[in-house]
């Protein structure tokens, strides 16, 4: 399978035809999509048209963009004008947005070929894609196992070669965890570096869009293109995209890598073993390993599962059947609201809305949401102290390799624990990425997570590139 950067180079210099590239990807989709179910929608015809146009432009000597001809899949919670965007929920089934998300506009302007909308846990709430209203996505490496979530479809699409790269969204680990479970690279950038305009909101102060790719260079290339200030997003950092590809060959000599000594328990030994090997590799490459303590880590799950549902309960209130989406008719308005949302939302979504409503309600705000915001400050301060002594931190991405379907669906709390290593960076607004590093139990891939401080993407990618070289 070709790398993103190879495709761009080939298409741009004419040695590769975009229409050939897209056919190759569509053929792989044809072969395996029925068993993997990475997509809610494959936009084959449109993709072929887009590819043909790129080829025509190249032939005519016109300039093409930095993603020319690259087949890219988009998580189905990003608005694509005129193309169904469902968030894998019945309530939005059939809805076609009248506008494009900023990242979609950027991809199109860069010449990318959008190959389809990928499956997710409904409204991005989940860690296995089992919460999709349209059926789960299967891990392409072992169809009896989950691909992770919530961006399971985007991770699987890259893992299975359906797309050269894809975009997902990460609120508590929804890019990094599926990346680890599917054996691909997944990046959550610093909060505010990639526009959220057009990303269907789950938890506004935590959500970020990021890339999945087969390797670190592809991920860096894609991330550079989708990053940068957007005036349509008030939380967008007023800065241009950080240069990433340029630092990939710098190595890690002299860098200080943090090892968290008070990591929450529950990580499987096979995963921990790979983490140790990762530390060894970095040490061999000239980095120093430094112990760091993050005492508030143990409270992050609680803080997250109060803050995220609280914001989500408000963000999802707009799905009331009035202006768009599927409505269940009733004799009066209140009944219509209730029936529409009862039928349209799945169990996990309902659970989180209830949790969030409770956390914000009068009399409970201080005890729950208010306190959670303070815990958020604590973890942010913990990280700030740690980053005085280190450039990046290394942890496992997921506590285990990809697990079997149904093994965590009975106990929501067990599912929530999948995100124990990824959640802290969302709370702090920091960047983090998962890099495949060997295999663990049952030969399933293990991902190692590289964390950096706010806008520390360059340090993060240097370490990731080194890990990739060593893996």
């Amino acid at each position: 399978m070709q790398r993103l950067v190879e495709i761009v180079a080939g298409v741009t210099n004419g040695s590769l035809r975009a229409s050939v590239v897209i056919e190759q990807h569509l053929a792989r989709i044809e072969a395996r999509e029925s068993e993997v179910h990475a997509f809610n929608l494959v936009t084959a015809d449109q993709a072929r048209n887009d590819a043909a146009k790129i080829d025509a432009d190249v032939k005519a000597g016109k300039k093409v963009g930095p993603l020319a001809g690259v087949p890219i899949a988009l998580k189905d919670n990003m608005c694509t004008r005129g193309i169904e965007t469902t968030c894998s929920s019945k309530i939005l089934q059939g809805w076609k947005p009248p506008y494009d998300a900023t990242v979609v506009t950027k991809l199109r302007n860069a010449g990318a070929v959008i190959v389809g909308k990928t499956n997710l846990d409904e409204f991005a709430m989940g860690s296995s894609t089992e919460n999709s209203a349209f059926g789960p996505t299967k891990n392409p490496l072992d169809l009896s196992r989950v691909p992770g979530g919530s961006s399971g479809g985007s991770a699987a699409a890259v893992s299975a070669g359906f797309a050269a790269a894809s975009l997902g969204s990460d609120t508590g680990g929804s890019i990094r965890q599926p990346a680890a479970l599917c054996g691909v690279v997944g990046v959550k950038p610093t909060y505010g570096t990639v526009s959220r305009y057009g990303l269907v909101a789950f938890a506004s102060s935590l959500d970020q869009i990021g890339p999945f790719a087969s390797d670190v260079r592809d991920a860096a290339t894609l991330l550079e293109i989708i990053s940068g200030h957007d005036p349509m997003d008030s939380t967008s950092i007023p800065q241009p995209a950080i240069s990433l590809v340029s630092v990939l060959d710098h190595g890690v000599k002299g860098m200080r890598i943090g090892r968290v000594t008070d990591l929450p328990k529950g990580c499987e030994p096979d995963v921990l073993a790979q983490l140790e090997k990762a530390f060894d590799a970095l040490r061999s490459a000239g980095a120093t390993i430094v112990d760091v303590k993050l005492p508030s880590l143990q409270y992050c799950l609680t803080a997250y599962y109060l803050i995220a549902p609280a914001e989500a309960s408000s963000n999802l209130a707009r799905y009331d059947g009035v202006r768009y989406g599927n409505r269940v008719d009733a004799a009066d308005l209140n009944s219509m609201y209730a029936a529409t949302r009862e039928a349209g939302f799945g169990e996990e979504v309902k659970r989180r809305i209830m949790l969030g409503t409770y956390a914000l309600s009068a009399g409970y705000y201080d005890a729950y949401y208010g306190k959670a915001l303070k815990v958020r400050r604590l973890i942010s301060d913990d990280f700030a102290r740690a980053y005085k002594n280190v450039d990046t931190i290394l942890t496992p991405t997921s506590p285990s390799v990809a697990f079997k379907f149904g093994s965590k669906t009975d106990n929501p709390l067990a599912m929530y624990l999948c995100d124990v290593f990824t959640i802290p960076t969302n709370l702090a607004g920091h960047p983090a990425m998962s890099v495949p590093f060997g295999t663990g139990a049952d030969s399933m891939p293990v991902g190692v997570q590289v964390l950096a401080t706010t806008l520390g993407e360059q340090a993060m990618f240097k370490v990731a590139a080194e890990l990739e070289r060593a893996s």
Binding site: M78, V200, P231, S314, D320, Y337
Partner: protein, 480 residues
């Protein structure tokens, strides 16, 4: 304070007003579709306005500017502020939450002066967004209850609002009307809004309670659907009476929201406190804090125009009248005070200039056609008794119709000339002789008899005698 007499048995009225003002911006508070009244339904819409999935708000700079003008004109402190979400379900609320300001609003701790040096505190004036508009069909009155369905237009959704909350310092319905009227004048003066209650660009919610002085404030009721300044007064008068009657008959006031029905002149229960929503306010994560720089605040403040109260004071001082009186109020309201100032500047008689403008310039707008010097000349003619007051009135009409002119020539062509006082003496003699019984009665103290004597002089002079001068002569003759 005369309206206090409306409430019997020593009950005191306490009123607070919440006024929502639509700002005169080109675009909405958080998105760039047009802020325009009267367009075809749902033609000023965008992802933010419709609360589409993925939409994000971005604050309108001009809305902030206008909001600061309002705050500064109301003597508020402008401070760093944040935005909150107010969550509730309603079909004209597209996101199922309204973005507003909660614990840190833009403007706080101001006041507004009413006539008679009455100071009404302004607690806050904060930014928020308007909702769409629902129209109800199928029922009998166009109101919700009993309707079959509703249609929603989102053109108004997202229009920038400032909510101005007064302290409960208002004590009479007249003060409430004055407050709304003065607030409106200020909004127009600073260009923040066209403040048309009939179009909904200015909306009042009235909070009313009653108590006996020296006791704590009573339970208050909020009254909605008060759509004119007159209704503000009527609604308060009705509600205050209702509350007093209820308490005096042994009942308790329930804290509730009531609907004002202008046709029947009554308030009705809309929603009780028990039904009130928990709005689950929390900081809006899609927006960032607004911290206006001192330089910006200072620039807005120094660019504020002279406000109506100050204009009335200046005009009143110039003309020697009461600043809270009718003439100052009317002339400033019409925006004709600058014109009066011009008339005086070119030598016109101040009091007469004010009166002429007040009485005859209702249709003239802010730029009257009659040149200031022409009106000044007329005031001088009357002041110097070259024409009588009646003659002056006629000449004023002529001037306005002609859009100006040489008043002396106009007076001559009409054959107007006030008679000199010496000529008047002779006419007065003749009148006394012609009306001896009237003269006797007048000398005995019957003031009414004056009329017959003055009338006789007017008749014999063919209207050229100045009535006031004649009266003065008769008075002085009597006292001799």
């Amino acid at each position: 304070m005369s309206e206090n007499a409306v409430l019997p048995n020593g009950w005191q009225l306490v009123v607070g007003l919440e006024v929502h003002v639509e700002l005169a911006t080109k675009t909405k508070m958080f998105s760039a579709s047009a802020n325009r009244f009267g367009d075809e339904p749902n033609t000023n819409i965008d992802p933010v306005t419709l609360g589409l999935p993925g939409a994000l708000p971005v604050l309108n700079k001009h809305a902030v500017e206008l909001a600061m003008r309002i705050g500064l004109a109301l003597n508020c402190k402008v401070q760093p502020c944040t935005f909150h979400r107010k969550n509730y379900f309603y079909p004209d609320l597209p996101k199922a939450y309204q973005i507003t300001q909660y614990d840190h609003p833009l403007n706080v701790d101001g006041f507004l002066m009413l006539p008679g040096e009455v100071r009404i505190g302004v607690e806050r004036a904060h930014l928020e967004e308007d909702t769409g508009k629902s129209t109800h069909f199928g029922g009998t009155s166009g109101r919700i209850h009993g309707s079959d369905y509703s249609l929603i237009d989102f053109n108004r959704a997202g229009v920038p609002l400032v909510e101005i909350v007064s302290r409960p310092d208002i004590r009479t319905s007249e003060q409430a009307r004055q407050y709304v009227s003065e607030l409106r004048a200020i909004l127009l003066a600073v260009g923040a809004s066209d403040a048309k209650m009939e179009e909904g660009s200015m909306r009042c919610d009235v909070n009313v309670s009653v108590h006996k002085p020296g006791t704590p404030f009573g339970t208050r009721c909020e009254i909605k659907n008060v759509n004119s300044i007159r209704s503000v007064g009527r609604a308060i008068d009705y509600e205050a009476r209702r509350q007093v009657d209820l308490i005096e008959s042994g009942g308790k006031i329930r804290q509730e929201t009531r609907h004002w029905d202008d046709a029947s002149g009554r308030t009705e229960t809309l929603r009780t406190k028990e039904d009130a929503d928990d709005y689950r306010y929390f900081l809006e994560p899609d927006l960032v804090p607004l911290v206006p720089e001192q330089a910006w605040i200072d620039a807005v403040k120094s660019a504020l125009p002279t406000l109506p109260a100050a204009r009335r004071r200046i005009l009143a001082e110039l003309c020697g009248v009461d600043k809270d009186g009718e003439s100052a109020l009317v002339v400033v309201e019409r925006g004709q005070d600058d014109y009066v100032g011009e008339v005086i500047a070119v030598g016109g008689d101040p009091r007469r200039a004010l009166i002429y403008v007040q009485q005859a310039y209702a249709e003239q707008g802010t730029r009257p056609k009659v040149p200031a010097k022409d009106l000044a000349a007329l005031t001088i003619l009357e002041r110097d008794a070259k024409v009588t007051s009646t003659q002056a009135k006629t000449l004023l009409t002529d001037l306005i119709e002609a859009g100006g002119g040489d008043v002396v020539a106009m007076a001559m062509s009409r054959g107007f000339e006030a008679l000199e006082t010496s000529a008047l003496d002779g006419l007065v003699d003749a009148a006394i002789a012609a009306e001896p019984s009237a003269w006797q009665k007048y000398c005995d103290g019957e003031e009414k008899a004056l009329g017959a004597l003055v009338g006789a002089v007017m008749k014999s002079s063919k209207g050229k005698a100045d009535g006031k001068a004649v009266t003065a002569i008769l008075q002085s003759r009597r006292s001799k």
